[in-house]
Each structure stands twice: as C-alpha cells, then as structure tokens.
C-alpha cells in the first residue's frame, strides 16, 4: 500500500532535473565528437596554436600518464562550443568585478595589455646586451626607439588601485642607461600629445598606422630625413573588422573591432621589392627569400591575423628595397613587431631597410646580413617586449 502510493507520486520537477542533467551530460560529448574537426591538429586562429591531437595509448604513455594528460588536453581543446564557453566565463568574471582578463585590462571600449613593472635582472641583461653589441660593432651609428604601450598613454583606463609602473619612467631610465654613442629617439611625447587620435588598436596590442606615422615623424631629425606630412598620404581603409591578439585573449566581442589603414604617398609612392626570409643554408651562408612587390600583404586581410598584412608575420629577416629613394642610405632595424607598421614609412626614406627579428634567429645574424652594408642601425621595441623577453637581445652578441 505504502509503496504504491509512493510510486504514484513521482514529482515532475524531479523528472525535469534528471532530464536536464542527463541530456546535458550526453549532449556535450556527442556534440564534441560530431563537430570535432577531422584534422588531427586543427589550427585555432584565436589562440594561434595547433589544438592538441588525440593521444596514443601505449603501455608507456599509460604508465607515465602522458595518455591521460593528452586526453584531458584533447577534450579541453576540442570541447564543443569552447570559445562560447570561455566568453560566458569572461562575462561572468566581468560581472564579478574582475578588472583583469588573461593579462588584459578591458575598459572604456578599449583593451590594453597589462604591464605591471619590470624585472631588474632581465632589464640589466638586455641593457648590457645592447650596450656591448654597440661597443663591438661601431661600423654604423646606432639609434634606439622604445615605444610605450597603450596602457601608458591611456593611464586613465587603468582600473583604480591597479599598481602599474610608469612606462615613461622606464623609457627615460633605459635612455639614460644606454651607452652614450646610442642616439635615443623620443616618441613618447608625440604619441602622448596625440592621444585623442586613433593611435593604438582597441583589440590588439600594437599601435595603429597613425601611431607609427607619429613615430616616423618624431624620428626624422635624429635619423636625418625630411618626413612627409599627413596630407602627403592617401589613406586606404583596408579593413574595419580587425580583431587582434587582445580580443583572442579575452574573447570579449563587446569592444568595437578595429580599422586597419594603409598609408601610401599621393605622389611618388615608391615601387618596392620586399624579400622575406624563407630559409637559410648555414654552410654556404646563403639566405633564400620569398619576394613581394608591396608593403601590404593583402592576403592577411582575409584571415584573423590582419596585423600581419604589414610586411607579413614576424620573420627572421625582411628586406625592403626602394631604388627611387631620396637618398642612397640603408638602415638595419632590429625589432619586435611594432616595427612592422613603422617600416613602411621608413622605407620611403631609405634605399634599403632590413628588419631583423632576433626572436626567430638562432645564429649570429651578421652572417646573414653584415653590418657593413648599412649606414644606420635602429632598434625598435615596445616596452613590454624589451622588459619581459629574456632571450632575444642576448642573441645580439652571438659569435659565429
């Protein structure tokens, strides 16, 4: 009697709970399996990495737990709706008042990569590397341009009470610690005076073409050229849907996508030849290149990584030749990716500009392009790379 009474009393809300739970637990693995890309390692544009492949099961991989770790990673990488899940998480974090998201401040329709301060040890190592390099390579005069990041120019967007050091002070410190023979180029003032203009991307950690244009103007006196003025340029809006690296970090689509502008001279825009490093034969010392006839690699406008349309992705060595340049001078740029936006302007002023990215070189770069070939050397770094990258500048002093 009692039992039958109980059996009749199955409560609908309990069925709802059980059904929701069961459906969800069944749906997620099934959807994950169905929508899993067939490639063993699909590429994630937002994360800029290959997602992990399904691990191989063997006695070894079982014993050292590589299989289990690999499985956990595989599932997490391929989990159905992964980026949507992360967007939900980031929204929840925002509602909880979190002011940082994956190393990014999001405030006032702008994302800024966070820089809290520098590590004295890394700083001295990098500083000494540059100073020693310049001392040992006096063949060409050396210039240094250290670009502040958006966080410094838009300090008002840094959340209250966040303890971030002043990049202006950092730049001043580096400029005074550099060997006297290195001529420093102040671009902070020019950027700061124009902070009401669109000088940094909202969703990417780089400066915009206009920001780089300001730096090109600010460097004119030191580097010894007569810079073109704003009105000399035609400005083409190449994209208005650029979502950069900081978007990838936060997946916050509430921030307006960015605009990418290409600057070309209205008159006498030079016909350039761009050679991008392809491979290097260490025995013969010969470098093979891919060649392009434009500063702007438009194929990147169709993919997520649109900033790479400025002279391509980071590559060990890129040379821009401009036979019609106003002078016969040549410039060696040792750089991070901030230079990619700037070098299109510089290339108007030099017959040859070569960009070296030490992060992608593991040999003495002088074997690929001797310093004797250049009239000037210019370092272009932004504060975050210079202060945080522990290894690239040390490669300056590699010997063959």
């Amino acid at each position: 009697m009692k039992k039958s009474l109980k059996a009749n009393k199955i409560k609908p809300y309990k069925i709802i709970m059980i059904a929701l739970f069961a459906l969800f637990l069944a749906a997620m693995p099934i959807l994950t399996l169905i929508f899993n890309p067939p490639e063993p390692k699909p590429f994630s544009e937002n994360e800029n990495r290959y997602l992990s492949a399904f691990p191989k099961l063997s006695f070894e991989s079982y014993k050292d737990e590589k299989f289990m770790e690999g499985f956990d990673e595989w599932l997490s990488d391929r989990f159905y709706g992964r980026e949507e899940w992360i967007a939900i998480k980031n929204t929840a974090d925002k509602l909880l008042g979190k002011t940082e998201n994956n190393g990014v401040f999001v405030n006032n329709n702008m994302m800024m990569q966070i820089w809290k301060g520098y590590d004295g040890e890394i700083y001295s190592k990098n500083l000494n590397a540059v100073n020693n390099f310049v001392k040992n390579n006096p063949q060409a005069p050396c210039y240094f341009m250290l670009a502040p990041n958006a966080q410094e120019i838009y300090g008002e967007n840094v959340p209250s009470f966040a303890e971030v050091d002043s990049q202006k002070n950092f730049i001043d410190k580096l400029y005074s610690d550099l060997n006297e023979s290195i001529k420093t180029i102040d671009i902070y003032s020019a950027l700061n005076e124009n902070k009401d203009s669109y000088i940094y991307y909202r969703t990417d950690h780089h400066w915009t073409s206009y920001g780089a244009f300001l730096a090109y103007r600010a460097a004119a006196d030191e580097l010894g050229y007569t810079a073109s003025v704003y009105d000399d340029f035609n400005i083409e809006q190449a994209s208005d849907s650029f979502r950069g690296t900081l978007f990838s970090k936060t997946l916050d689509s509430s921030i307006t996508p960015d605009v990418i502008d290409y600057y070309t001279l209205k008159e006498n825009e030079p016909q350039v030849k761009v050679s991008v490093f392809k491979d290097y034969d260490t025995k013969s010392g010969r470098v093979n290149y891919d060649e392009y006839d434009s500063l702007y690699f438009r194929e990147f406008l169709d993919v997520k990584d649109k900033y790479s349309s400025f002279l391509g992705q980071n590559s060990p060595l890129v040379t821009i030749e401009n036979p019609n340049a106003k002078t016969h001078r040549s410039l060696l740029v040792i750089k991070d990716s901030y230079a990619h936006c700037l070098v299109p302007f510089l290339s108007k002023e030099y017959q040859k500009v070569t960009m070296i990215d030490l992060r992608y070189i593991n040999t003495d770069f002088r074997t690929m392009t001797p310093i004797e070939d250049y009239d000037q050397m210019l370092f272009v770094y932004n504060v975050i790379t210079f202060s945080e990258d522990e290894s690239n500048l040390l490669k300056l002093n590699m010997c063959k």
Binding site: I15, F79, G97, T245, S248, D305
Partner: protein, 469 residues
C-alpha cells in the same frame, strides 16, 4: 581523475552512469569495481596496485576473523596484519620522506634523497582509513563479514569517495552494498547535491583561491593588514568550499548510484567554540578518530588526566594525518590545546558571553589556524599573523584595495554561502510556495552546471600572444 574536470563530467560520468543503470543488479557491484579502478588508475596508473593489494589483504583478514571466531590470537593477528599493512603503506608513502628529513636534520646524515622521494598516491589517507574501518569493526564484532570479494572491492573502489572522502566506513554502506534501491528520489537528490558541490568547487573555491595564491606570492613583510586579511579570509573560504564541495559531489554521486554516504560538513564556520567547529568540519574524520582512537583509549571515562592525554593523542594524530610536515603537526597541536582548554574551563566561559563574541573567538582562532596550515614555515606564519594585525605599519594600500575590487563580490557570495542563511531562506520559502521553489530548483541548478562548465572549459584556453609581437 578529479570530479571538477571536463573528462570526468562529460566522458567518465555519462558513460559510467549509463552502463551502471543498464547493468543487471548482480553485475552492478562488479561494474563499480571496474569503474573505480579506471577512475583511480587515471590519476595513479602504477599505484592502483597498492589499492588492489590493500583491498585483498583486508578482505582476507575479514574472512579469517570471521572463520576463527573463537580463536582470539588468530583474530588479533589478522587485525594486526591489516593495521600494519594499511598504516605501513601510509608510513612509507606519506611519512618516510619527512621522517628521513628530520633524522638528517638531527644527526646530520643524508638519508633523504629528493630525487628518489616517493610520490604520495592520491587518496591514500582516505582509502586506507576506509578499509581499516572494516577489519577493526570485524575484530570488534560490530559488522558482519563480507564474503563476496567483489562487493568488498566495490566498497573500497567506489569511485565517488575514493580520493577525498567523506571517509565512508564499511558499516555506513554495508547494507547498500548487498541490496540498494535506485529511484527518482535518490537520483534527483543526488544530482542536486552533486551540482551544488560542483558550483562550490568550480565557481567559488577555484576563483577565491586565485586571491590567496596572489597574496601568498607577496613576502609577509610587505603585506598591508588589508591584504593579509583578504588573503587568509580567501583561503578560509577556499578550503571550506573546496573540501565541502568535493564532499557534496561525492555524496551526490553516491546517491545517484544508490548509496547514502555520511554528511561531512555542517556549516562549520557558524560554530560558537572550537569543539563545535570540529563536530561540524570534516565530520567523518573526527568520528573515525573518535571511534578508533579516542574511545579505545578510554575516551573521557577514566578521569580528567587520562581524558586530556587521550585528546592530546587524537589531535596530534589529526595534525599528522593532514600531511607530513611540521606545520600540520603544529596545527593539530594548536587545536588539541584549544580543545583541552575548552574542556577544562573555556567552554563554560564561552557559554556566558554574548553569541557574537563566541563566534568571533571561534573564527579568529580558526583563521589563525589556517595561517599555520598553509604557510611554508613558522617564521612565515608568524610574519603573516603580524601583518594581519598591522605589524608592517600599513593598514591598507593600493594593492589591498585592488584585491578588494577584484574579489569583493565573490568574497561576499562565499561568506554568505558558508552560512545556513540561504538554506533557511529556501526552506521557509518552500513551506510557503512549494511549487515555485520546487520548480525553479532544477533550472537554478542547471544554471550553476552551465556556468561551472564554462569555467572548466577555460582551463586550457591559452592564446599564444607572441605570434605577432
């Protein structure tokens, strides 16, 4: 495998539950054994052998104790074999490194070799205590023998409680091992408890833990009082939500499978004295020590001197159980002293003061206890306590304010959540509007599950920024 992972929630659990519900009754225990071994081997592919050996020995010991019912010596030998084996495993894997280090420290020898240090098998402190409870109870004649090796192995390897408790004694689920009913009521209530646990662990403990991690990185001498308090309050809440969340998940999973595990937490931070705190915190551990150490030693029935002695032993062991390191031992001694003091006179005093002060007394000591528990060494612990009371001369600073802005809301949610206020509110609301509450529960819990999934999915999301730098 941990419960709060995508692999567990979306691969292991759905597959296991599906097979478990479909399996005929007589195969259910065998399937529990298989799934438990897979679950354990996922985290301990090699040491799963230890668990199997321990299970076999305790099973055999139980059989022999039963068989030689009238031979005292045999029974005692069986018990001793089981105890020596279980405590031996704990001793070797958990304490040998610590003991060698201390011998080295005293005699200047170099017995301890970090390169060959034994790793701590997951959950060893839990499953050894669980299966020891069976042989001890067999010896004391408190439980009936389990003749079916599969049923006994299912008890040890029952995956919900394998790695982090609650410490389920054989006695707790002996009846259910042989026959259990699984109906909508227990599945429903299991799901609700499980999701509550997931939310506690993933949404609250993990988030608030980041604050404690950040504060711990700052050297104790540079902490403002605000930061120090925020940090230790975060840890106080983290450890409660982490541990009780894990227990809820285990209890919920158990219910889904037809097992009723004992409760492990009962709003411990609402206690009015330390003795009460320990009756509400990790209840199954406290009751294990009570049943198998305190009472056998005579409990409180042999005069005050002996009682205090027994308390001291229990609390020393409680400290040691938490980990092989001096700070856990000190932490145990700290509680032992407090409980002895309460037994002597303090609790009578506490009863007479307003409730607010007895709560304050309890929480202050519990929080100071957590400093001992989770700092590297004594100087750091005292430095940290100093910072809490303004020892660094800075009451608050930008750093503290920044933590407050970033973690204020989650701290408030957690503070609210560790009291029974919401339970009381919903219990009352359920009486008044049962339909509304009953029908909104599934959707609210589902929301928690969705949100927790979002936080779990974030774990490996790691854009590589340097591509374009």
């Amino acid at each position: 495998m941990v419960f709060s992972s995508l692999t567990f929630m979306f691969i292991f659990l759905p597959v296991v539950l599906l097979i478990y519900y479909l399996a005929p009754k007589r195969l259910k225990n065998l399937f529990i054994l298989i799934s438990g071994l897979v679950f354990y081997a996922w985290g301990e592919p090699v040491y799963v052998v230890i668990m199997i050996i321990s299970t076999l020995i305790d099973y055999t010991a139980g059989l022999l104790i039963d068989k030689f019912n009238d031979k005292k010596a045999v029974r005692l030998i069986c018990l001793l074999v089981s105890l020596v084996m279980n405590l031996g495993l704990l001793g070797v894997f958990k304490y040998s490194g610590f003991i060698l280090q201390n011998i080295d420290g005293i005699f200047g020898t170099s017995l301890y070799d970090p390169a060959h240090a034994l790793p701590l098998p997951i959950g060893i402190s839990f499953f050894t205590f669980q299966s020891m409870s069976y042989t001890i109870d067999m010896y004391l004649g408190k439980v009936k023998v389990q003749k079916n090796p599969i049923s006994f192995a299912a008890f040890v390897t029952l995956f919900p409680q394998i790695v982090a408790g609650p410490i389920v004694r054989y006695d707790d689920i002996a009846a259910e091992l042989d026959s259990r009913t699984i109906d909508t009521d227990c599945i429903y209530s299991g799901i609700v408890t499980f999701i509550t646990g997931v939310g506690k662990k993933v949404l609250i403990a993990n988030n608030i833990g980041m604050l404690w991690t950040a504060v711990k990185e700052i050297s104790a001498g540079e902490l403002s009082a605000l930061t120090a308090w925020l940090g230790i309050i975060a840890f106080t809440l983290q450890i409660y939500f982490d541990f009780s969340g894990y227990s809820d998940m285990a209890i919920g999973l158990g219910k889904m499978m037809g097992f009723y595990f004992p409760q492990n937490f009962n709003y411990p931070y609402q206690s009015k004295n330390i003795s009460e705190f320990w009756r509400r915190w990790h209840i199954t551990l406290g009751s294990w020590f009570k049943s198998y150490v305190y009472f056998p030693l005579g409990g409180s029935r042999r005069g005050i001197k002996k009682t205090l002695m027994n308390l001291a032993v229990v609390w020393l062991l409680t400290g040691i159980w938490h980990g092989a390191s001096w700070n856990f031992i000190l932490w145990g001694v700290f509680y032992g002293i407090l409980i002895i003091l309460e037994k002597l006179f303090l609790s009578r005093l506490l009863e007479r003061i307003p409730a607010f002060f007895s709560h304050l007394y309890t929480m202050l000591l519990v929080i100071l206890g957590w400093v001992l528990f989770d700092t590297a060494d004594l100087p750091t612990a005292f430095g940290y306590m100093g910072a809490m009371f303004g020892g660094n001369g800075v009451l608050w600073d930008n750093q503290g304010m920044y933590f407050l802005i970033n973690y204020g809301i989650i701290l408030l949610i957690a503070l609210f959540g560790c009291t029974d206020l919401s339970k009381r509110f919903f219990d009352r609301a359920r009486e008044k509007t049962p339909k509304l509450i009953n029908y909104s529960t599934p959707f609210a819990k589902f929301g928690v599950l969705i949100l927790s999934t979002a936080y779990l999915a974030d774990a490996t999301y790691n854009p590589f920024l340097y591509f374009n730098f």
